[in-house]
């Protein structure tokens, strides 16, 4: 007999010092927060029942995010606002609930993610690097090292990267990019930054913030 469960999609932010928490540790953190919140959580039915939790687009260590998505199931219906408040109250600093909703799209519909990148070059070189970045995106191909199962290979990431905005300020280069994301094809911001480093110069400090997750038609993934 199949029991009735209520699927929930939680969107949360992970910022500040929380960026140093790895994906595996984030899963543990979220599990414990949900348990502390005292919710009617659904556990997988088996020899070793465990909390059903699916992170839709795992975040790399060192990256902040405004739009992390996780799916879970409840054994009975709870008002979304109450859920959001309860979970938020039990998350550690650096994590905050943005919204709770019923999932609309399946995980495989994720196609793009947008990021804000801050690259620090020092010595007032922001302007020069802005030119180099524009040049990179004007190339027909952007060769980049990508880790695959077989090892490392050079791939062209040009079709999977879009430059939305670019501005230099002093030492820094601020940019917004849209990168292919999802299960089958995923371009990490670091891959793009490394491609730039090869073409121009490696930045010093780097800040990465994931801002949006989108579907094929560039609608917010819900």
């Amino acid at each position: 007999m199949q029991e009735v469960t209520f699927p929930i999609r939680l969107t949360y932010t992970k910022t500040g010092r929380a960026k140093y928490i790895s994906h595996l540790d984030t899963m543990r953190t979220m599990t414990r927060a949900l348990r502390r919140a005292g919710l009617p959580l659904w556990y997988t039915q088996g020899f070793n029942p465990h909390l059903y939790l699916t992170f839709l687009l795992p975040l790399a260590l060192g990256t902040e995010s405004r739009c992390e998505l996780v799916d879970l199931r409840l054994t009975r219906k709870v008002d979304f606002d109450i859920l959001a408040a309860r979970i938020d109250a039990h998350l550690p600093p650096g994590f905050a609930v943005k919204s709770v909703a019923s999932p609309v799209l399946p995980a495989k519909s994720i196609a793009w993610a947008e990021y804000q990148l801050t690259l620090d070059f020092g010595q007032g070189e922001g302007g020069e690097m802005e030119t180099a970045m524009r040049a990179l995106f004007e190339q027909e191909e952007i060769p980049a090292r990508k880790k695959t199962k077989k090892g490392e290979e050079i791939v062209d990431i040009r079709p999977h990267c879009q430059l939305i905005e670019l501005a230099a300020s002093g030492d820094r280069l601020n940019l917004e990019v849209r990168l292919a994301a999802g299960v089958s094809l995923n371009i990490a911001p670091k891959t793009l930054i490394e491609a730039f480093a090869e073409a121009a110069r490696p930045p010093g400090r780097v800040g990465i913030l994931r801002t949006r997750v989108l579907d094929e038609r560039l609608r917010d993934f819900l």
Binding site: R17, A18, Y20, D25, T31, A33, R36, P49, P92
Partner: protein
């Protein structure tokens, strides 16, 4: 308590430097604090900053219950802010030294060197060099005499403080016994000292008057020509003997209702309850069994309340019922009766890490199995009945096989058995006895009709090296040399002829060093310092330990590890810890030593009081100590 918010830390100086290194090191979440339930206070409201240090990695130190108790206890006090500090792993240490990042508290990210009290937990001898390394990373001289200022005051406690002499040069004050009350008194005294502008000497002389506080610099130690201690003489009005402290009533004493919940996985990543302190058994090799006396139990109702608090505040899915011997806890079935209904509903597992073979009933096994089947671990400690009597383990072969039979019938197919090698009076026959016993456990499995179907049995032997420790009846005994131990290891391997039995060993080199430090005098401070200067730290980790550095350090100081580790000590020899009292009398230890050699056993405290002397710790006015049932 005020709980951390990310904004508080924005703009902190160290954080900018840390940002540069944290992306380069392994498991950076160990170094940023901000965990749930960590405590952040407003520095302006705080009169005393306390750095609670564990001289090992985050994963180890965060697993330790004593740290959790002291952390919460100190932070309960307004005016005191206690922060956690752990040893950085090698990659982080390199980065810290490279970027000039001093050792910092995880809550404030502020340098430990600016704190008022730096308190270390001493759980094992091999952490001593790490203590020195942490002081150095904090930018402080490692030697107490080279830190003339009032603060930071460097203190240390924990089981190794029962013979803290090898650390006498580095630590200003030791806390003997259970630290809940003493640590708070010391903290109050330091506040008073700061307000009144005392000198460090004034503070130490006043601290020496607190019961349970030992100030090593207030004692002179003289030596005989052969290197043995001649006399330990108190200076000024320091007490001739310092007594350890205990907490008399565990039900009314402080216990945290929340643990700091780490992001990264730690060794014991679960709620921990302490069902009792002390142990009634008196196994003669076991230091904990003597230095934590007398037995004190906590009521099942108190424990159930603690368990509910911890589960609600942590979200942990496991609760461990710890003590030196949890199946001796008389309230165990009542406690499980209280806990099982709600833990089952909330998908929480109960784990019982320290069960004895002779009183682990079938009913109890069934209760545990109801929650989850993991491996079972038992500790026969020795392979023959004769040797088990020598060490007063009070276990028969039938106890061992009977418990295994019950476990197999209950669905278990793997058992782990703990043994020791190098026990006093041990012969090769006793070593063969380990192999024989393991074989009998295998046979028992196949003779059990309701054993798990279609599964083979797995018997794992974990064999450690016996290390004689202070305040045990074996404190007089020589330890086996590394060569003797290696020979016994070889002999055991040769005696095992069944592939269902596997063996794990402990390194004999680290054990001999542990033995030398455990019963060492304060001349070993120079050895510890030399070993640290040569690069020793995190010695408990195989990948960092280098015996050569220690051998050189001993040679450099004109001392021999064998003098401390492998020498028989006479009953009338002045022990380096002779001025410290842990309750159990020396007369009792001598009597127990003699009984060991006659293979005479001593019953548990519950069967008969053996007048060990620890009952006096209850203090006056307690006529009938409850260690007798």
């Amino acid at each position: 308590m005020i709980f951390i918010s990310a904004e508080i830390l924005a703009g902190v100086g160290l954080e900018d430097k840390l940002a540069l290194v944290l992306e380069k090191v392994e498991k950076p979440s160990r170094y940023i604090g901000g965990e749930l339930n960590s405590v952040v206070k407003e520095p302006a409201d705080v009169r005393l900053r306390f750095a609670l240090c564990f001289p090992d990695l985050y994963e180890i130190g965060m697993s330790h219950l004593g740290m959790k108790i002291l952390y919460s206890l100190l932070n309960e006090r307004t005016g005191v802010w206690c922060e956690r500090v752990f040893a950085p792993a090698a990659d982080m240490e390199d980065e810290m030294r490279g970027q000039n990042i001093p050792l910092y508290g995880l809550e404030s990210l502020e340098p430990v060197g600016d704190f008022d009290i730096i308190g270390f937990s001493l759980q094992y001898e091999l952490s001593y060099t790490t203590l020195l390394n942490m002081l150095d990373l904090a930018g402080l001289p490692v030697k107490s005499s080279e830190r003339p200022g009032l603060t930071p005051l460097v203190i240390a406690g924990g089981p190794c403080a029962c013979n803290p002499e090898p650390l006498a040069d580095f630590v200003d004050a030791f806390v003997l016994g259970e630290g809940e009350e003493t640590t708070v008194q010391l903290a109050d005294l330091v506040v008073q000292a700061k307000d009144a502008g005392w000198s460090k000497a004034e503070l130490l002389s006043k601290a020496a008057k607190i019961d349970g506080v030992y100030i090593p610099s207030l004692y002179d130690v003289s030596y005989r020509e052969d290197g043995r201690v001649a006399a330990i003489t108190p200076k000024d009005d320091a007490p001739a003997v310092v007594h350890k402290r205990i907490v008399a009533d565990l039900d009314s004493t402080f216990f945290p209702d929340r643990f700091v919940v780490p992001f990264t996985q730690i060794v014991h990543d679960r709620s921990i309850l302490e069902v009792q302190r002390g142990c009634v058994r008196g196994c003669r090799f076991c230091q904990a069994g003597f230095i934590y006396r007398p037995i004190r139990e906590k009521a099942p109702e108190t424990l159930n309340r603690d368990a509910q608090n911890l589960s609600a505040s942590s979200g942990y899915d496991e609760i461990s019922l710890t003590s030196l011997s949890t199946s001796d806890y008389t309230g165990l079935e009542d406690l499980l009766g209280l806990m099982l209904p709600w833990t089952k509903k909330e998908q929480i597992n109960i784990s019982l890490p320290s069960l004895r073979l002779d009183n682990c009933s079938e009913g109890l096994l069934r209760q545990i199995a109801e929650v989850r089947k993991s491996g079972l671990t038992f500790a026969p400690e020795a392979g023959t009945q004769r040797l088990r009597d020598v060490i007063n383990k009070n276990l028969s072969e039938e106890d061992i096989l009977g418990a295994c039979r019950a476990a197999f019938a209950g669905g278990y197919s793997a058992v782990k058995l703990y043994f020791m090698m190098g026990l006093p009076t041990e012969t090769m026959e006793d070593i063969e006895g380990i192999a024989d016993l393991a074989q009998k456990v295998v046979d028992t499995y196949y003779q059990t009709p309701d054993k798990p179907k279609g599964k083979g049995v797995q018997v794992t032997l974990s064999v450690s090296c016996f290390v004689p420790k202070p305040f045990t009846p074996f404190e007089f005994e020589p330890m086996d040399t590394a060569n003797q131990l290696q020979e016994k290891q070889k002999h055991l391997l040769a005696s095992i002829r069944n592939r269902k039995i596997s063996v794990k060993y402990h390194d004999s080199g680290t054990s001999v060093l542990e033995a030398a430090l455990a019963r060492g005098d304060r001349r070993l401070s120079a050895v510890v310092e030399a070993a640290w200067k040569a690069g020793s730290r995190l010695d408990g980790w195989g990948e960092h330990f280098l015996i050569k550095r220690w051998e050189d350090a001993f040679a450099q100081c004109g001392l021999e590890p064998a003098f401390y580790a492998n020498r028989r000590r006479e009953y009338d020899e002045v022990a380096p810890w002779a001025h410290l009292d842990f309750g159990v009398s020396r007369g009792f230890l001598i009597a127990e030593h003699k009984r060991a050699f006659a293979a005479d056993t001593t019953p548990s405290c519950y069967e008969r009081c053996s007048a060990c002397g620890a009952a006096k710790l209850w203090g006056e006015g307690r006529v009938s100590p409850p260690c007798r049932k």
